[in-house]
Amino acid sequence: MTISDVVDLIAIILLAIGAFFNLLAGLGLLRFPDVYTRLHAGTKCTTFGAIFICGSVVLLALKMWYFGNPNGSVLVIHTLGALIAILVTNPTGAHAIARAAHRSGVKPVGAVVDDLEGKPVRKSASKRKEAEK
C-alpha cells in the first residue's frame, strides 16, 4: 500500500462523512416541525458537511500538486476560499432569517414562554434621529 493509496482512502472517508451530513440536512429540513428547528438542521449540517467535502478536495488536490500536476495548487487555494466564504456567510444568513421569522410573527411549536415578547424593536439610525428631534 503506497502513500497515494492511503491519501485516497482518507479522502474517501472524509467524502462519506460529508455526504452523510448533507443528507441529514435534507432529511431534517423535511421532518422537523417548525421554522427554527428546520433552520437548525439545514444550516448546521450543511456547514459541517461542506467542511469535510472541501477537506477531501484539498487533500486530493495536494496529492495532485505533489505529483506534478499544476492544477493542484490553484484548486487548493480556490477551494479554501470557497470554504471560507461558506463559513462566513452561512451562520450570518441563518441568523438574519431567524430574526426575520420571529419579527414576522412565527411562533415555535410547543413554546410556552416567549422571552422576546413585548421587547422594543431596535429602530434604524434614521428613525432614531427623527424621534430625538
Binding site: 493509496d5 485516497d8 479522502a11 474517501i12 467524502l15 460529508g18 455526504a19 448533507n22 443528507l23 440536512a25 435534507g26 432529511l27 429540513l29 423535511l30 421554522v35 428546520r38 433552520l39 439545514g42 444550516t43 450543511t46 456547514t47 458537511g49 461542506a50 467535502i53 472541501c54 478536495v57 486530493l60 488536490a61 492544477n71 490553484v74 484548486l75 480556490h78 477551494t79 476560499g81 470557497a82 466564504a85 461558506i86 456567510t89 452561512n90 450570518t92 444568513g93 441563518a94 438574519a96 432569517i97 430574526r99 426575520a100 421569522a101 419579527r103 414576522s104 412565527v106 434604524s124 434614521s126 428613525k127
Partner: protein
C-alpha cells in the same frame, strides 16, 4: 484500489437527492420563512456540489463559480430576510 473520481460522482448523486428533499420543503412550506430556509439550504448544497464536480472533472472554473455563487446568494438571503422583517434598509 477504488477510483476516487467515481466516488465523487456518487457523492454528487447524494447531494442532488438532498437538494430534491429541500425542493419538496420549498413547495410544501406552510409559511414564507420555511421557503426561505429551504432556498438557503439549496444554495449551500449547490456550492458544495460545484466544488465536488470541479474536483471530479479536474477543472478549476467550477470552484471559481462556486465562490461567486456563495457571496451572491448570501446577499440575496439578507435581502429576503430584510423584506420579511418589514424594516427599512
Amino acid at each position: 484500489m477504488i477510483e476516487v473520481e467515481l466516488t465523487y460522482l456518487i457523492v454528487l448523486c447524494l447531494l442532488i437527492l438532498s437538494i430534491v428533499l429541500c425542493i419538496i420543503r420549498v413547495f410544501r412550506g406552510p409559511t414564507a420563512p420555511d421557503r426561505v430556509v429551504g432556498l438557503d439550504t439549496i444554495n449551500t448544497l449547490v456550492i458544495v456540489s460545484m466544488i465536488a464536480y470541479g474536483m471530479a472533472s479536474g477543472s478549476v472554473i467550477y470552484v471559481d463559480v462556486a465562490i461567486v455563487y456563495a457571496l451572491l446568494s448570501y446577499i440575496s438571503t439578507l435581502f429576503i430576510a430584510k423584506y420579511l422583517e418589514g424594516g427599512e434598509f
